[in-house]
């Protein structure tokens, strides 16, 4: 499971909907990648030096293929969106803990528990898989990885959805849209309520307000929620302390209630973080 920087090869790139791209790359990292982990993608431009953290959306381990789905939101992702089949792209990874480690409380450095395989720890449970906006992509691999019962709730801005077909194949999908043009008008929580969705555990990724809502919802319903956070990153490997999030208790690294999203996260037990 060692991290490394590697030159990957672009396998394919396509635009899914306006400004949202799907990029498959060939990399030896594919076989290690787990749902909820991410990689750092370099732009190759000397004026934009830092890696762009992008979640792993899907993998085909046997073909060494790894997929990212991302939104062009600035100069770096714009450059990445110009990559074509056969182009080289430098990536660093695999980064972060992923849902599996988060869900069993495993922590790479403190190692205060053993890593329990995700599907073992979730046996007999039902997971609500929630994605909002550009937080939807990592939930695809999460949903695919789950062998237990699951239901998916996806929140889009409007009816220009992406990846929806692929989620549909995995089970029941409920949709919310900000403008009501598809599914429930409102948030993913609104969709959960409207459709009477229930479950034992939540896996989620999305914008901060959504995650706050999920944290509150999980608490109210006595559920566990594992949520994936974002922060600006420099190193991606825990060295720069750029990417911290506040924690309820002392973090094990610095003991100051500030834990690193790139190493101890990005997926956290919602009760652990103070968001």
């Amino acid at each position: 499971m060692s991290k490394r920087k590697e030159e990957a090869t672009v396998y394919s790139q396509e635009m899914l909907t306006d400004g949202i791209y799907s990029l498959w790359i060939e990399t030896s990292m594919a076989s290690q990648a787990k749902a909820g982990q991410f990689i750092g993608v370099f732009t190759g431009d000397g004026t934009k030096l830092l890696a762009r953290p992008i979640s792993i959306c899907d993998v085909k381990s046997d073909e060494n293929l790894l997929r990212m789905v991302y939104r062009v939101s600035g100069g770096g992702t714009d450059l990445i969106s110009k990559l074509k089949k056969g182009d080289k792209v430098s990536v660093i990874g695999v980064l972060g803990n992923g849902y599996e480690k988060a869900a069993c409380g495993y922590n790479e450095e403190s190692s205060n528990c053993e890593l329990i395989p995700l599907n073992k720890s979730l046996e007999g449970k039902k997971v609500i898989v929630i994605g909002g906006g550009i937080g939807i992509p990592p939930m695809l691999l999460a949903a695919k990885s789950l062998q237990c019962e699951k239901v998916m709730v996806l929140g889009y801005a409007n009816k220009n959805t992406f990846l929806k077909d692929e989620f549909d194949k995995l089970g029941q999908v409920y949709i919310s849209t900000d403008d009501g043009s598809l599914g429930t008008k409102g948030t993913v929580i609104d969709a959960i309520k409207e459709n009477g969705v229930s479950g034992d555990v939540i896996f989620a990724c999305g914008p901060m307000p959504m995650l706050r809502g999920i944290k509150a919802y999980a608490k109210e319903h006595g559920m566990k929620a594992y949520i994936s956070l974002e922060e600006r990153m420099a190193c991606g490997v825990g060295a720069c302390l750029g990417c911290v999030t506040k924690t309820v208790n002392k973090d094990h690294h610095t003991h100051v209630n500030n834990t690193r999203i790139c190493v101890e996260g990005p997926v956290f037990d919602s009760e652990v973080v103070d968001i």
């Binding site: 830092l50 600006r232 490997v237 060295a239 720069c240 610095t254």
Partner: protein
């Protein structure tokens, strides 16, 4: 061919070091690059008690570099001695611990704790632009710097490197002050003070408003300051600021640096340091340079 350099009696197998705060305690990068190829690892700044650092966002990317406003988050000297120093013992690189504090007393407390630790040198950060008290203030006034250096030297049992701020009118004066205070070496540059504004949100990108500017973009400023200080003081100078390649490292050494540190570029390529070590050897081979010490300060 000799690639060894000596700073305050400490012999480094090569002049390549990591810059404080960009390489954690060494551990974080240890699976990505070979610490045994390094002259020295310089650790993240450590204070007498744990510091939480600044609010996020702490990182902003800028043209050819980055801004950081970490604010010296660190677990404090206790955890550091218990966890981080032991980790480094397995490696043959020299160990340099970077020390920060808000008052002179805090610096002294850390220095005293480190005195009997298995480390080689201490680097005193009096130049961090991201904490309100202490730190930078000590590094922007020559008299204060000399005084702090003296007080630290009075208790330190390891060689002391004073890390200088580039945010000053006269860097020579600062080098001389550190030397007068008894520093065994100086290192520079720490980060330049910078700012970035998100024009769409009319907000500072960093929660701290300003941040320390580092990366390839700052190199010309750093080379100039290293040259100025190296040609003013007699103690060794450790150069840094934007080093990305062996050519950059050699440029700093020609300007007068005895050793060099790589900071921001570790984030861009974790193997930067080891590539630089190899690249310096290659340069020496190509040019028929037998002793790396012949490069130091050789610019005319």
């Amino acid at each position: 061919m000799n690639t060894k350099v000596t700073i305050a009696g400490v012999e480094l197998k090569n002049p390549v070091m990591t810059a404080s705060g960009t390489f954690g305690s060494g551990q974080e990068f240890s699976e990505m690059t070979d610490l045994n190829k390094l002259g020295a690892v310089v650790t993240k700044g450590v204070s007498s008690v744990p510091w939480p650092g600044n609010p996020t966002p702490r990182i902003a990317e800028v043209y050819g570099g980055m801004l950081n406003a970490i604010g010296l988050q660190n677990p404090g000297i206790d955890v550091f001695i218990e966890r981080d120093i032991p980790f480094l013992q397995d490696y043959s690189c020299k160990k340099i611990v970077n020390v920060c504090g808000k008052t002179v007393e805090e610096y002294l407390a850390v220095v005293e704790r480190l005195n009997d630790q298995p480390i080689d040198m201490m680097e005193i950060n009096v130049s961090c632009p991201n904490v309100k008290e202490g730190a930078l203030a000590f590094g922007q006034d020559a008299r204060v710097l000399e005084d702090v250096t003296k007080k630290i030297k009075a208790v330190a049992k390891k060689p002391i490197i004073m890390k200088l701020s580039p945010n000053v009118t006269n860097i020579k004066e600062m080098g001389l002050a550190a030397e007068a205070g008894g520093a065994n070496a100086v290192s520079l540059i720490n980060t330049l003070m910078g700012m970035k504004i998100d024009i769409n949100r009319k907000k500072f990108v960093l929660a701290n408003k300003t941040g320390g500017f580092s990366g390839p973009a700052v190199k010309p400023v750093a080379v100039r300051m290293v040259y100025d200080v190296a040609h003013t003081v007699k103690i060794p100078v450790i150069g840094m600021g934007g080093i990305a390649t062996a050519e950059d490292a050699i440029e700093f050494m020609m300007a007068g640096a005895t050793a060099i540190s790589v900071g921001t570029m570790n984030f861009v390529d974790p193997e930067t340091t080891s590539k630089i070590a190899d690249g310096i050897e290659q340069f020496m081979k190509d040019k028929g340079i037998e002793d790396i010490n012949d490069i130091i300060g050789c610019v005319e």
